[in-house]
Point group: C2
Amino acid sequence: MSHHAEHTVTVDAPVDLVWDVLVDVEGYSRIFPPTREVNLLEESEAHQVARLHVDVGGEIQSWVSRRDIDRRRHVIAYRQLETAPIVGRMGGEWRALPLDADHTQLVLTHDFAAREPVDGKVAGRFTFEEADAMLRAAVERNSVADLNAVKTEAEHRVERTAVA
Amino acid sequence: MSHHAEHTVTVDAPVDLVWDVLVDVEGYSRIFPPTREVNLLEESEAHQVARLHVDVGGEIQSWVSRRDIDRRRHVIAYRQLETAPIVGRMGGEWRALPLDADHTQLVLTHDFAAREPVDGKVAGRFTFEEADAMLRAAVERNSVADLNAVKTEAEHRVERTAVA
């Protein structure tokens, strides 16, 4: 069972400023509270590979994410190369679309599936239906939180620029 | 209690084609099943005023909507001039943002509030909390349905163009 989800928020900041927040993957531990640590494993102009350590409901989980970076279109396509315990597949895009000089439509998409069960269990603990429901709920919750984290950081940077 | 909501979907069609679907308000009765009839009351290059007759849970309701049309940015700002019975305020934007030559990010936003109660009741029947919950649920449901209706229609037009 494969899912596709799209979430969006309007950011009161220019697209270049939103983009700066998105590409700074090492800064994610500052702006997304559940992200405890990010280790950049590879980097070029067009891609990043990073290991993320994230608090998932009180338990620190870790996965490796590849991000392909399209600077012209302001799109980052991400996919987990090594997934968290209940995740079979997780990928999607961050998109920063200019609305006008001062506003950006920020979009986050997810394409995902829970992990296939082994001996009837996912991660040794859950039925496939449970893992699927947990994952859908997490994507819903995290989408809203992640979009708002980028929005808040970008809008703070606008305020700091205005004051400076 | 005022609410803001944003919903989005990726459309596999060029922005100009999505835009044609959005501006054709008289065509809404064809593509949105609950919309039974649309009467265009005023029209210029930059605006439309239309009366919509819509099936809301089995009951035909009617309201008048003004749409301000920004063709350059592909944005339509709408607001109800005369609202449905439980609605105090309803407005927002349709935004069609080009992702590339063949794909469009379609966004629908809502800014809304339930109608203030008179003698403790909204529309003579509901508490404010009930009206507020009904309206929030309707916005959630209709956003998904309306985005998908535009997506489906625009993608059909791409197929017809490809076949022609």
